[in-house]
């Protein structure tokens, strides 16, 4: 009686061990198949993802990069008061017009009323939260009334977009004016 029960016990144990080994083997196999090779190289993640992250394409360039091909404009822009304003905010990302050394598209160039809107994005006085130390602001239509022109004038009629004070300073020099016009 006693003997019999022990042998039954043994066979259960053997079954259990075999089952565990099979499960372990399957688990190991599954791990080999489903886990990416570089998983765990540097930590609990796929090490190769670092390379994938590095290969995200750069679509925005720097202002300096425009210089190669748009020399005169960049020169004006660089020497003017707007040199901290990015070309690509006003025109869209570099990657939209040049890719792999080819001109692949057209960057938007704003005209007329759109230009006014663009300028007001940064220079609008109604938005009070703007720190005075960062930027000078104007209100519409006061600014235009003050200058004595019709209120449908767009900003680019007096301010050169790439250096807003260029023409104004030129005019001042020509007229010998020191004070604001």
């Amino acid at each position: 009686m006693h003997n019999q029960s022990r042998s039954k016990y043994n066979s259960h144990l053997i079954k259990l061990i075999v089952a565990l080994i099979v499960a372990g083997g399957l688990g190991y196999f599954a791990r080999q198949v489903f886990m990416p090779a570089s998983m765990g190289t540097y930590g609990h993640y796929r090490g190769d993802d670092i390379v994938d992250q590095l290969n995200v394409p750069i679509r925005l360039q720097t202002n300096e990069s425009c210089f190669q091909c748009h020399r005169p404009i960049r020169q004006i822009h660089k020497e003017g008061i707007h040199n901290s304003v990015s070309c690509e905010i006003c025109h869209g990302p570099f990657g939209d017009h040049i890719q792999d050394g080819k001109k692949v598209g057209v960057l938007p160039v704003k005209k007329g009323k759109e230009i006014t809107q663009l300028c007001l994005r940064c220079h609008n006085k109604v938005i009070q939260a703007r720190p005075r130390k960062s930027i000078k602001m104007i209100g519409l239509p006061e600014h235009l009334e003050q200058k004595g022109v019709r209120v449908d004038h767009t900003c680019d009629q007096c301010h050169m977009v790439h250096d807003p004070l260029l023409w104004i300073n030129q005019a001042k020099r020509m007229m010998g004016i020191k004070e604001a016009i």
């Binding site: 540097y42 994938d52 750069i58 091909c69 901290s84 940064c122 720190p131």
Partner: protein, 264 residues
């Protein structure tokens, strides 16, 4: 054809000028220099870093006392990553605090189109108003990494918290875990996405796109191991500096200059 290539090698710039000037017709497609060419390194010493992880400790500083809320950073970010409409990797909030200490926050389209209108219909006169740009805080102890069940979100040894698109199963745990709400599920890939501090640009020595375009230099990025970097100087000199939600214990590497206590 071969001649043209030789010509390019000889003097690229002069050649482009000639082409743009129209003296060499019809060869425009051949000559434009591929992608990024000789742009000066913007983060000192970055291009010598060849190892998988850099030996740098990066920090991001946002100067609230300079930000004009123009949304250039948001435009740049959307352009760099083709971020789907209605989702934002970085955004700019407008805070208005009135003289009864009520706080009003708005953020139309994440600031992508700038702030066009003043906020109207507030009950009391305004006491204080400012813009707060938000982006990934790159926590030293990121809760999003802790909760990710598949190891898709991870922290590199140099401190970047990144998302592996191929591993992410879109379970959104990380979105709930992030105290700063910088994550979203991209409708295109159905995986979690967030600001990476432009890892791909930084590793190539360029500044993050939003830092590059900021017209008032409100966003600053640099290496804290470099004692000459601007961020080092800001964080080691007297300034009003703070991080968002310090009580969460995530230890963000994103610092704000001039942060008001009302900001969450």
């Amino acid at each position: 054809m071969i001649d043209i290539k030789k010509e390019i090698e000889r003097d690229r710039r002069a050649f482009i000028k000639k082409v743009l000037g129209g003296s060499i017709a019809g060869s425009l497609l051949l000559v434009l220099p591929a992608g990024a060419v000789d742009i000066a390194e913007q983060i000192p010493g970055m291009r010598e870093e060849k190892a998988v992880f850099t030996a740098k400790r990066f920090a991001f500083v946002v100067d609230i006392t300079a930000c004009i809320g123009c949304g250039s950073c948001c435009v740049a970010d959307k352009a760099e990553y083709n971020v789907p409409d209605g989702h934002y990797r970085t955004w700019v909030e407008r805070y208005i605090i009135d003289d009864h200490d009520n706080v009003f926050v708005d953020c139309p389209d994440g600031g992508l189109h700038g702030y066009i209108r003043a906020r109207e219909g507030l009950p009391h006169p305004t006491r204080d108003t400012f813009f707060v740009p938000k982006l990934c805080n790159m926590c030293e102890k990121p809760s999003c990494v802790q909760v990710c069940p598949v190891g898709a979100t991870y922290q590199t040894k140099d401190g970047f918290v990144l998302v592996d698109k191929t591993r992410c199963v879109g379970c959104s745990y990380c979105i709930q875990a992030c105290p700063y709400s910088v994550r979203f599920i991209s409708p295109a890939t159905h995986t979690a996405e967030k600001c990476t501090w432009c890892y791909h640009r930084v590793r190539k020595g360029l500044l993050p796109a939003c830092v590059e375009v900021c017209p008032v230099h409100a966003r600053k990025f640099g290496d804290l191991n470099d004692k000459n970097s601007e961020v080092y100087k800001i964080l080691h000199e007297p300034h009003v500096i703070s991080v968002l939600k310090p009580d969460m214990g995530n230890k963000p590497a994103l610092h704000y200059v001039g942060l008001r206590r009302e900001v969450v």
